[in-house]
Symmetry: C2
């Protein structure tokens, strides 16, 4: 399968990854959440080549994750800002930061910490059920085919009981 065909897949992970799933895109988005907006800031912070950065930013704009907003004219200069769709990726980034902090930190501890402004405390993200508000673990969740699952292929519940 070619990467570009991935967004045809009837799986939300595949579709999401078709947009954000390559080597650089999530790091670019991390920087967006840190307030970075301009081409040369991304370039100098990331150590990414200009060619690839151009391409990734363009794709993020095409997919509505970032928007190009002019911040001056003569000459026209534009910066990249998160859209609502882009900001909705924040839980993904937070979850990655937390996982990295937990499992990939060196002896000095976490390089980045999250502060929850409303309560003022250092925090890490906790995932809870939207219905009962109980904390969710991998074993508590069953994945089922939803309305958008193609009927021409095996449903996920046709397979073994999910996880473990």
């Amino acid at each position: 399968m070619r990467w570009e065909e991935l967004d045809q897949e009837p799986c939300s992970v595949a579709r999401a990854l078709a947009v954000v799933g390559d080597r650089w895109t999530l790091i670019i988005l991390r920087d967006c959440f840190l307030g970075v907006r301009r081409f040369d800031q991304f370039e100098s912070r990331l150590g990414i080549t200009r060619h690839v950065l151009t391409d990734r930013l363009k794709k993020l704009v095409e997919n509505g994750v970032l928007a190009k907003v002019p911040y001056q004219e003569k000459p026209l200069r534009e910066e990249y800002r998160l859209t609502d769709k882009g900001r909705a990726l924040h839980p993904v980034i937070m979850a990655l930061v937390h996982w990295g902090n937990t499992y990939m930190a060196d002896e000095r501890g976490a390089p980045l910490v999250h502060i929850h402004k409303p309560c003022g405390h250092q925090m890490h993200p906790v995932t809870v059920c939207s219905h009962c508000r109980e904390e969710v673990t991998a074993r508590d969740v069953r994945i089922e085919a939803g309305p958008g699952w193609k009927t021409t292929q095996t449903s996920p519940s046709d397979r073994q009981s999910t996880n473990r």
Copy 2:
């Protein structure tokens, strides 16, 4: 910067992505959470080439995300199972599924839905603060340098106010 140097970065996202951030790895992990364990199952479900699948599985094992467990001898056959470290990526996958369901679904609706077994309801993941248990949005969170941040570079709070 080469991809392999990324795990040296003092950023948990970068370190996390050094392990799970390439085109195929998160899709492999999605299948792990669906109960897939064997080489040929991954291959036929994913449309990935065997060469790349071998490489990704090996890296996931090296990084302690998956473990090779023999399920028969003569001939030796091994399957790949999530470790605790791997299962800890579940919030990342759930967040990606939810984002994909919300923003990338077609007119028929979500291809995958989550059921929270303890309460029995369809759910989506909600991220709350580990301290006050209030729901967290991107604007509620400030990112600060933690103990593991290298002092030789600019701290994230030296920059503009985070997000927005």
